[in-house]
Amino acid sequence: MASNGETREHWGTRIGLVLAMAGNAIGLGNFLRFPGQAAANGGGAFLIPYFICLLLMAIPLMWLEWTQGRYGGVRGHGTTPAMFQLMWRHPIAKYLGVLGLFIPTLILFYYSYIGSWTLGFSIKTLLGQMPHVSQAQLHEGMTAEEISQTVLQPYSDFLGKYSGDTGSGYLLQPDAFTLGVFVVVYLLTLWLMARGVSGGIEALAKIAMPLLFLLAIGLVVRVFTLGHPVSPEYGVMEGIAFLWEPKWFVERDGKEVFVLLDSKTWLAAAGQVFFSLSLGMGAIQCYASYLRRKDDVTLTGLSTTASNSFAEVVLGASIALPAASAFFGVAAAQMIASKGSFYLGFVSMPAIFSFLPAGNILGFLWFLLLFFAAMTSVVAMCQPVIAFLEDEFGLSRRRAVAAMGVFWLIGVQFAIWVKGGIDVYDFWSGTFGPPLMALVEVIILMWIFGGEKVWQEMHEGALLRVPRFFYYCAKYVTPLFLLAILGTWFYENVIHALLTGELFTRPLEAAGLEVGWHIWAVRGFVILVFVLQVFAIWYAWNVRKSMQRAEVLPE
């Protein structure tokens, strides 16, 4: 078991670290989730809550997580159970840190599978095996429903067939190709993880991240040169206007509400910032634990935030939705955005590429871009469990990767075969877990360990002096913000759900899923994962205690 940070691996270069951290943050959410969220929550006006959440919550949390990660790393620990214990000498602290293992584990179980779809779709697109719909079927004045039922239906069916969601039963039936591509992604990830932090994760980021930005810029240029392919009324600028025009009033439950006073808009902005920056997941601390004692955390932490926001606000908002608007018109683009990220990325975009010259190549590049975004996040979700096994159980890198690989292979089965499995995993790890984890860590850091000590620790080797404003922000505003988010979540998903009798069905039935034994099986597995990880923490600390006792009292 590691007792100090001298034997731990380190990042090879600062730029490699920044790219790996950016890769951790930048994922499918930047290119698929952000445009939909902005469109549904006030367009340009959404940027106001987005920016406030970024400033008052995300940036302070990012610096806190980097600081905590480096603090734990130089003491030989890369995961939150030990980091929390180092900062709060209370027996419960290490168990609270289980969230930093539990959340990335659940995300890995479903996100890796969805990430494999992007590779599968890129291969299918390149080989010309996607459906093909003639542009002649499109004409001005088609309603959103008509477009959905004619032009987009073959692509929707294709996605259903790819994921195995074709029948009415509880189980999915993906074909051999889908499973084969996942196996490739799985083995590739294990190979990268076995090569280590610098040789695997950093090497991947150094290749994938520059390529991701180049591909995204190339696609933005192509989208902006689409012109008016269907009608003079439909164009990219109409889509851009739809996305950026501030809508100060949005419709909620049949009523017009001022967007800046609407809790749903604020929750959407906070959720977007959280999920897309990978905050409150334990993954940032884990990466930061491979820093050296005097390595900067302030400038590099800010770089992660800047890269992520640039990727979603500038690049992500300029590809899928404006392209949909150019071919289908603003009304249909709105309908596409409202149907969610999968519909935008896996249904609408392939249809658009099929209308363009060299569409196979463009479609291939689009899915390759998404694949790079997904892969760099998948490796980040693998790392906490591996680091935990290495640091707290003294396992070699290879053994830790093998153990994590077995665990991952079991967990992903529920995402692959069970209808709604992905939704159950996402509900706990994507909506509830990160704000709770963030609240716990901000209290431990700023209130128990001590804000001044954290501030001092943060500025060790800092390349950027953080304005004092952020100290007060992290101490008072960020926890209040997080409490408000959790309070709203609790009201909507527990109190309101109890009153309406939807406690066990609410998020799933709203998504059109039936809550049967299969959903309870996934929920049971989620609880089992949580219990197993709590047990692993208990066992690791007990073994350590016995070893320490043996050292103190030699026979």
Binding site: H10, M237, I240, W244, L299, A306, F310, V314, G461
Partner: protein, 39 residues
């Protein structure tokens, strides 16, 4: 697009592009030796 839309879009683009360029410039070209502990 109305002037408000242009203001929102260009402000957001400028802010995040400038922040990204500033951070990467500082990381790549400025203070490159500072804060690094030799192995």
């Amino acid at each position: 697009m109305s002037w408000q839309g242009w203001v929102f879009m260009l402000s957001a683009w400028t802010l995040f592009t400038a922040l990204l360029l500033y951070c990467f410039y500082r990381i790549l070209f400025a203070n490159s030796g500072q804060g690094r502990e030799e192995d």
